[in-house]
Structures are given as C-alpha cells and as structure tokens.
C-alpha cells in the first residue's frame, strides 16, 4: 500500500549501477537515502563561514606553515647553544633566549614541527584502531561487543594522563614511546563513539529495509554503517588533535616526552618554571600550545554543532 506521492520519482542523482535488484522502487528508495546524505554534507559547508571558525582555521594555517617552513622562518638553530643566556625579548631574539642561550622564538617554531605531526600520527593510528574495534563491536555485537567494551572500561578506569604517564614511564622516555602511550590511552574513546553510532544505525528502519532489498552485510557496512559514523568520528578526531598536543606537552613536562634538546613545548615550559623572573622562557611555548589546542577545540565544536544530531537542534 503506497500513496502515489511517495511513489513519485525523486530528483535524485543519476542511477548507481551497483544498486541491487531490478525493482525500480528499491532503486528509488536507495536513491532517496543517498540524496538525503548529500543534503547533510552540503549543510556542513556553512561551518567554514563562522567567524570563530575562520579565526581557528587561520591560526592552524599559520602553525602548519610555521611547521613546514621552520628552517626558513626561524632565525636561529633550535638546539645550538650560545653564551647569551636568559636574554630578554629584543629585536635580535624576539622571544628572548633560554637557560642555554638558545633562541626561544626558533624553538617555539620548531616545536610546531615536532608537535603537529606527532598529534596527527597519534590521532590517525588511534582512530584506525578505535574505528576497527568500534565497528566490530557494534556490528557483530554479542561476545565481541562485550569483550571490546569491557576492555575499554579498564582504560576508562584511569584519568587519561595518569595512564599515559604509567605507560610512558614503563617504556622509557622518548618521542616514540610517548606516541605509543598516547595511542594506547586514546583509542578506547574512538571505539566507544564509533560503536554507539553503529548501534544507532543498526536499529534503524532503513538498514532493515536495505537488508530486505538484499544488501549483504559487507555492503551494508560500507554503505550505511560507515558513512553514518563519519560525522562523530570527524568531530572526535578534531577535538582529539588538540588533546594530543596537550597531552604530549604534559608528558614531556613530566620528563617522559622527546629527549632534550628537542624543542618540545611542554619541556620548554618545565625549563622556564625554574626561574619566574625569566618569564619569556615558558610564556611563549605555553601560548603556542594554547593557540593550537584552542583552534582545534573551536573547530571540533563547530563541526559537532553541524554533524551531531543531538547538537544540531541548537542545544549546544
């Protein structure tokens, strides 16, 4: 029993040859869904015009440029020591020099070259692990779901930085081990988020209808489950990029990050904390962390307002 209005042809995209079955109504149903998906994607584009997002993106662009062009932009070598220790900010040393006479400006710029790729690496690997396990847990369900969720429970029993500290201390201080530690503590968040978005799709009518139309589990996963998890994953990954920068700096503040003389922002703050009168040694690396993390957080928030249905109603 269908009303003629619903049966009326929809102005959708051209027919997809992979559409299962020859039934024109089945084809139309799937088209309509894809069309709806396209509408949603279009609405995301408005995000880039918000003033706060423009500021955040420009900040990030600036930092990415700084990271890429560090050797050209930085006036001095980040690790070369000089006799001019604790020089206050001047035209020669914009951000002053530290306890070993190294130029703070050059070290802050080179710090971006260290922190940004590390943050991207952490998020990429944790996202991959979390997505895989989250998809398996949510889609297969039962025992797999139970096992994965109970494992994530263990990780959530610790505040993140405490567990990261324990892992990094056990493996020994180095950039590689800090990255491993931060991946280990952050994948469960992704797994949880992906799983819950999979579950919300799994119970939906349109997944049931596509199964009735003969769509196999692999295709359903690729076509219905994964695209619906992309939104939450993108939001989380953006926020986690900032979190990764923050946690890396915390680990190296604890002496568990990249080894000296690497220009890591957290370690620079730790070095500057020994003498308050030399404020510039820790002030500028701190501002660097603040601006990078803030930019990621603003971006993540704006994306969430658009992509997360709970926030889309304007509740956020």
């Amino acid at each position: 029993m269908t009303s003629p209005r619903i049966d009326a042809p929809l102005p959708g995209p051209p027919t997809d040859p992979t559409t299962p079955g020859d039934d024109p109504r089945a084809r139309r149903l799937l088209q309509r869904r894809r069309w709806a998906g396209r509408l949603r994607v279009r609405s995301v584009s408005g995000v880039w015009r918000q003033p706060s997002v423009v500021v955040a993106l420009s900040l990030l662009a600036l930092w990415v440029l700084a990271a890429l062009l560090a050797p050209l932009v930085a006036p001095y070598d980040p690790v070369t020591q000089s006799a001019q220790i604790y020089a206050s900010p001047s035209s020669q040393h914009w951000f002053g020099t530290d306890e070993l006479g190294r130029d703070v400006f050059s070290r802050v710029i080179h710090g971006a070259r260290l922190s940004l790729p590390v943050a991207v690496a952490i998020v990429a690997v944790a996202l991959a692990i979390g997505t895989l396990l989250g998809l398996l847990a949510g889609y297969i369900g039962r025992a797999v779901d139970e096992i994965v969720m109970r494992i994530t429970d263990l990780f959530f029993a610790f505040p993140q930085i405490i567990l990261a500290m324990a892992v990094a201390a056990a493996f020994g201080p180095s950039t590689r081990n800090a990255v491993i530690a931060l991946i280990i503590v952050s994948w469960p968040t992704y797994a949880r988020v992906i799983r819950s978005s999979v579950l919300s799709v799994r119970g939906s009518d349109y997944l049931a209808s596509s199964r009735l139309l003969g769509v196999g589990p692999v295709q359903a996963l690729r076509r219905d489950v994964v695209p619906n998890s992309v939104g939450p994953a993108v939001v989380l990954a953006t926020l986690e990029l900032g979190n990764a920068v923050l946690m890396l700096s915390a680990l190296s503040f604890l002496g568990l990050g990249p080894r000296p003389p690497a220009p890591e922002w957290g370690a620079m703050i730790a070095a500057g904390s020994r003498d308050l009168s030399m404020w510039w040694v820790s002030a500028f690396p701190g501002l660097a962390i603040l601006t990078v993390v803030l930019a990621f957080n603003i971006l993540g928030d704006a994306l969430r307002d658009r992509l997360d249905p709970r926030y889309a109603r304007g509740l956020s």
């Binding site: 505040p159 568990l256 404020w279 603040l290 509740l315």
Partner: protein
C-alpha cells in the same frame, strides 16, 4: 524483626531496588579493579629489558641478596599466571613495591602525601561543582546572548590551557608581579607546622587552636585551589550548560514559564531538580580532571602531595612509584564513580528500578 509489609526486614532490604543496585555496582567495581591490575601487570611485563632493572635502584641491583629477595618476592622465576597471582596478592596486602628514589614503600609514601593533596582537592572539588553548576546554569539561561558566549569562550580557553602553564602564569602574576600570594609550599618557612593529626595543616592548626598557622596555611592554599578550580570548572560548565539547555527545552518548563512564574521559581523548582541529575554524573568526570590536574600543578606550587610525588617519580623513571600512583588514582577514581552511580540511583528512581 518484621517490616510494614510483613516480610522479614532483612529480605525486604535485600530486595529493595537500591540495595540491589548497590550490590550490582559493587560487584562490577570489584571486577573492574581486578581488570585494572591485569592492565598494570601487562604493563610491567612489557617493560623493555627487565622489569627488575626498572624497579630496583643501581645500588640494590649490585647486591645479589637484594636481587634474589626481589625475584623470590615477586615470583619472577614462576610462570606468568603465578606471577600475576603473587602480584595481586602483594597488592591486596597493600604492597605496591618500593620506590627507587625514596627507598621506602610506595604505599607508605602515598599515605604521607595524600593529606596535602586532599587539602587542595576537596576545596577545589566543592568550588568546582558549585561554580560549574552556577555558571553553566547562567549560560543556559542566557542562551545565545553575550553572557553565554563569554562563558563558552572562557570554558574553551580553560580546556585548551596546559594546567602546569596556567599554574605558572598564576604564580608569576600573583607572587612575582603583585606579591599578594606566597611562592609555594604549604606554610611560610618561619612557621613550625602544627602537631600532625590528620596531615591536613588547616585542620591540624584548628585542632591545635593555632589561628596564625591556620591563616598562613589558608593563604598558601588559595592559588593551587584556584588553578585546579579553573581547570575543572572549564570542563564542568560545558556539560552543565547542555544538560540545563535540554531541561529548559522541556514542555513542563515552558508551561511553568507560560503560567507566569518568575524565572527564579522556575529554575529552583523545575530546572535545577531535573538538571542536577546529569550534573552529578559529570562530577565524576570532573574528579578525573582534578586528579590529573594535581599531578601537573603541584610541582609548580612546590606542594608536597601525591601530584608532586608522581611528578618526581615520572621524571626520575621510578617505575614502582609511577605504577603505584596510577593504581592508587585508578582505585580512588573508580570508587568515586561508584559513589556517583549510587548517588544517581538515590536521586533518580528510574535508574534504581531499571
């Protein structure tokens, strides 16, 4: 003894939804804590090289009798599963190993440092919950207007600031520039601490009737508590705000407003009651941010608490102490979450009866 319904009181209590909730949550908590020990045990097994070299100091490693005693105590020659059993057995007896740096038992160390941390954590937690709820509610009521934007920006700033840097900035401004705060520590150097009863100087000073000492201790508390509060409030405000917005959107709130009740009455009677339930859940989360905060902040304020102990253990690669602190924090955090869950059950009948 019989209760009103005629059934024996004991069985009535057992069947009471709250008691069932308590038992269920207690059981899951115990299982979770065992899982946590599996996690830390795995971590010890993954230590590159030998966990023994990471746990004993240089001098101890050169002493064959100490090494032999260590191997025997942790059962290092036994199969893994026995080693785990021995590990858990030692933990259950409160044996977290011996710190490489202080050469004392990690649990003993923790117990000497816990009161100092409690002294800043308790006021910070109370202030955070009160301020977080208040500010979050304010932002929700001013939704989309200037006050709301200011709160949003402020909380984003707080979430994006490295805690140790915020502590440093606070110390620079209020100690170095303005000279209104002490440089750190729990008491001024010329003051002898009051006799140790609770280990919390403010409490001990009151018990001893020493008002001068109390006032000095309070002055030393202000900055660390303020920094921890800022960080925790920033995290809390976002949750409170969206929880309150959700409540404000409900039909019964709209109805209460429509019949002309003053905002204050609507908030007190309808919004706060419903909105506080999620706030309680989130305070568990706020507690996590507070615990992490102490580890990153105490060192800056030379505050001799668990956080500073963790900082020194981490930077000195003192593995037994680091793992001891992490386990301790995990246990405390898990117990706090258990209490939050139970409180939630007390307040929200839906949870109790489900």
């Amino acid at each position: 003894m019989r209760g009103r319904t005629g059934r024996p009181l004991r069985s009535r209590l057992f069947h009471a939804p709250l008691a069932r909730l308590l038992l269920r949550r207690l059981a899951t908590t115990v299982v979770l804590l065992f899982g946590v020990t599996v996690l830390t045990f795995t971590l010890i097994q993954l230590v590159p090289g030998d966990s023994m070299t990471a746990s004993l100091s240089e001098t101890a490693l050169n002493d064959p009798s100490v090494v032999a005693a260590y191997r025997a105590k942790w059962g290092l020659d036994e199969p893994l599963i026995t080693q785990y059993a021995i590990y858990v057995g030692n933990l259950l007896q409160g044996d977290l190993g011996v710190s490489r740096q202080t050469s004392r038992s990690v649990l003993g160390d923790l117990m000497t440092y816990v009161p100092a941390t409690l002294e800043i954590a308790i006021p910070a937690m109370v202030l955070s919950v009160v301020l977080g709820t208040g500010i979050g509610l304010y932002a929700a009521l001013r939704h989309g207007r200037r006050g709301d934007h200011v709160v949003r920006v402020g909380s984003l700033l707080g979430l994006s600031t490295p805690p140790f840097w915020l502590a440093l900035v606070a110390l620079y401004v209020f100690f170095y520039l303005l000279g209104v705060a002490p440089s750190g520590g729990r008491l001024s150097s010329w003051i002898t601490p009051p006799p140790r009863v609770t280990g919390m100087i403010t409490v001990d000073a009151l018990l001893a009737g020493e008002w001068m000492i109390w006032w000095d201790a309070v002055q030393h508390l202000v900055l660390p508590v303020a920094v921890l509060t800022c960080l925790t409030v920033a995290a809390l405000v976002r949750f409170v705000r969206s929880a309150m917005l959700e409540v404000l959107d409900q039909d019964y709130v709209r109805a209460a407003r429509a019949k002309g009740l003053p905002t204050f009455t609507v908030v007190r009677r309808h919004v706060l009651r419903a909105g506080l339930v999620p706030v309680i859940t989130v305070s568990g989360l706020a507690f996590a941010s507070l615990l992490s905060g102490t580890v990153l902040v105490e060192q800056i304020f030379s505050w001799p608490g668990v956080g500073q102990y963790a900082f020194r253990a981490a930077s000195g690669l003192d593995l037994p102490a680091v793992l001891g602190v992490s386990l301790f924090v995990a246990v405390v955090y898990t117990l706090v979450n258990l209490m939050v869950d139970l409180l939630y059950g007390v307040i929200d009948p839906r949870i109790r009866l489900s």
